[in-house]
Amino acid sequence: MANFDIERKDNGDVTILHANGYLDAHTAPEFENALSTLIQEKRFKIVVSLEGLQYISSAGLGVFMGFIEEVRQNAGDIKISEVSPRVFKVFDLLGFPSLYEFYDSKQAAMEKFK
């Protein structure tokens, strides 16, 4: 089975989710749960660090799509940081860079919430 895990770090009103391993149709529900928990807690300022993410399929991209509307309606955002070139390519093929902000570091992404 594919390895995947999510680590959460709250930093003031911004939450950083570190997604590690393989994000596919099997592991996407885990990522979905993590985002869903944040929405329930009304934490809408979210940075997803993909530094440790080795693989993403459209099921993983779908999770980003599933929450962005609600997050933005609540004056928040999902910003993506430290994505590897090969994972970014998948985002890019589907046109995500026009909808999501990508940053080289968590700090840079967090700054944007201030």
């Binding site: 596919d24 599933g66 589907l94 046109g95």
Partner: protein, 153 residues
């Protein structure tokens, strides 16, 4: 003894098969199977990643859609890989309900992103990542997605 020698060596062909339950937990096994073959053929890391992703998307579609409402028959995915010196051809097959490939249009990504709803991206990715994609649909009997990629373009 045969009297004539061929002028050129015949192209080396190989065939590999994997049959497994249509369960998302098996996507990882399928990716490793495909990656191993592509790596042995000499595909670049980038190409291997793309082939893995295309096959993952096709299998994820089978797992999610092919056997809806079915409880009696075995829910299986068949993965067949044929290789030549410079080409990999992968067929993903199931015995599920099938689909109409013509009804699945390449999404207009701008429109898609405006709608901001998940789903429907798999087939678009497969077509983008592979050189050639074709379908053969025979609901309940055998539905196939066949895709290929060449080593040197």
């Amino acid at each position: 003894m045969p009297g004539k020698k061929p002028h050129t060596l015949p192209e080396k062909k190989n065939s590999y098969r994997l049959k497994l339950p249509a369960d998302s937990a098996n996507l990882d096994i399928i990716r490793k199977f495909i990656a191993g073959i592509a790596e042995n053929m000499g595909f670049s890391e980038e190409d291997i990643y793309q082939i893995e992703l295309a096959v993952d998307e096709a299998c994820a579609n089978v797992i999610k859609h092919a056997y809806i409402g079915e409880n009696t028959r075995e829910k299986e995915i068949h993965v067949r890989v044929k290789t030549r010196a410079k080409k990999i051809e992968i067929t993903i097959a199931d015995r599920g309900i099938g689909f109409n490939p013509n009804s699945i249009k390449t999404p207009n990504m701008e429109e898609y992103l405006k709608r901001m709803k998940p789903g429907g991206l798999g087939l678009h990715l497969i077509k983008t990542l592979m050189d050639k994609v074709s379908f053969r649909i025979n609901p309940g009997v055998r539905n196939e997605v066949k895709m290929s990629k060449s080593l040197v373009k």
